[in-house]
């Protein structure tokens, strides 16, 4: 990301902003879709995140790379979405577990297909999906996940482990 491109984006240049979008949209869309648990919500979040970035990019001071700034903004937006949805649902993870009735993929030794994997992540119950995405995909440690999600570190750990075992059940029929 050149200084020139940042300056152009900050001046409101839509072409320059499109360059930023092309560079980062896949990663942010992936994060948003996985955190939200659906491609449709992921697309809505992608739109909101980049619109917010366009509005706020003027306040970007260059303390970090623009991509890092954008990622943090995206992560915060996804977390807000997750919190707001959880509040709306007023629902505990445990009760969702009982409802998760995905048909397990037949036992197989073949590599895990990409589509199956994404679908399985989507079907993870609220709570453990976010912890799994943040820890096992995005690489945050349990303390960071706990801070981000407002849960105890031990809860982060148990949620991640639960997610892994559920994924195994979905993908391997166990």
């Amino acid at each position: 990301m050149t200084v020139d491109l940042v300056a152009r984006i900050q001046s409101g240049d839509v072409d320059a902003f499109e360059t930023l979008y092309r560079q980062h949209s896949a990663r942010i869309y992936t994060l948003a879709s996985r955190m939200a648990g659906s491609a449709e919500d992921g697309e809505d979040l992608l739109q909101e995140i980049f619109l917010q970035a366009y509005r706020k990019v003027g306040s970007f001071k260059g303390d970090s790379a623009l991509g890092t700034w954008l990622y943090r903004l995206a992560l915060n937006h996804c977390l807000d979405f997750v919190r707001s949805r959880q509040a709306k649902m007023n629902k505990l993870t445990e009760t969702l577990d009982a409802e998760t009735s995905i048909e397990p993929t037949a036992r197989r030794e073949t590599p895990i297909a990409r589509l199956d994997l994404e679908r399985a992540v989507e079907r993870l119950p609220e709570g453990c999906r976010e912890a799994f995405v943040l820890h096992d995909v995005e690489g945050f440690d349990h303390k960071e996940v706990a801070d981000l999600l407002g849960i105890a570190e031990g809860t982060s750990k148990s949620q991640v482990f639960k997610a892994r075992l559920k994924l195994r059940g979905f993908l391997r029929g166990k």
Partner: protein, 259 residues
């Protein structure tokens, strides 16, 4: 005795102490079941770690660009109180707004589309309520109230979606002459399929208002229809701009929907 799930996960993460790790390793050497569990979990972590990022839908940039242009338009009009203005309330983001790019003639109706897109994306995130366990709430009355609230919310969401669809349909219909006959026919066919699905889902919701699958199916139907109409607007936009490659990509997506 098998190690606990926690111990196996800690083993995979490499966070076990030396003694516990050795214990698990010794167990794995003689236990095919736990070995398989560890192999499966490692395979899942490897697969998710190596997975390439998902490509955002082609229409996503078109939607965003329209929303941005609409905001710029909104800013350019003194005293404007459009949706973008409302969106900015409390935002505090000190962006500088340049006006280097001239707005093209299709902006007015694109702005209308962008407003709808924004409304759909931001204002109508309806989440179907899950089944409310009476045992959880402690009183059947609480479940009854929750069900009523769900119905009200669903009705509101339905009204919002229908409004958005109506607006997008008006734009798509008025500009449909821009489309080649085959694409227009495909579009109509797909819309008919989606309308049928919406109609069936609506009937299911009326019959069983608390049914989560029925609610979800109805909302999914609305979202699919909005997505298709947004694609149509994006396609017309690309054709007007003379972007054949962009138009071809969107048209290809249109043909896959509803099939």
């Amino acid at each position: 005795m098998h190690p606990s799930d926690t111990a196996l996960n800690d083993f995979i993460d490499g966070t076990l102490g030396a003694a516990e790790r050795l214990e698990v390793e010794q167990h794995l050497a003689g236990c095919a079941v736990c070995r398989q569990t560890v192999d499966d979990l490692r395979e899942i972590l490897r697969a998710i770690g190596e997975a390439e990022p998902l490509d955002a839908p082609v229409r996503a940039w078109s939607r965003l660009e329209r929303a941005i242009r609409m905001e710029r338009e909104d800013v350019a009009v003194p005293g404007s109180h459009g949706i973008a203005s409302r969106e900015r309330q409390g935002d505090g983001g000190g962006r500088q707004r340049g006006s280097r790019q001239a707005l093209s003639p299709w902006v007015p109706w694109l702005a209308a589309a962008a407003a709808l897109v924004l409304a759909v994306a931001i204002g109508m995130r309806y989440v179907p309520a899950r089944h409310v366990d009476v045992a959880e709430t402690g009183a059947p009355a609480a479940a009854g109230e929750a069900a009523l609230s769900v119905e009200t919310e669903l009705r509101q969401a339905e009204a919002h979606y229908e409004n958005a669809i109506k607006g997008l349909e008006a734009i798509a219909n008025s500009e449909q002459s821009e489309l080649d006959p085959r694409t227009a026919a495909t579009l109509q066919k797909n819309l008919a399929v989606i309308d049928q699905a919406i109609s069936e889902s609506r009937a299911a919701v009326r019959a069983q208002p608390a049914s989560e699958p029925a609610q979800q199916s109805l909302i999914d139907g609305f979202k699919t229809k909005i997505g298709l109409l947004q694609d149509t607007v994006a396609l017309i936009n690309e054709m007007r701009k003379g972007n054949e490659a962009g138009a071809a990509r969107i048209a290809s997506g249109l043909k896959q929907k509803g099939t």
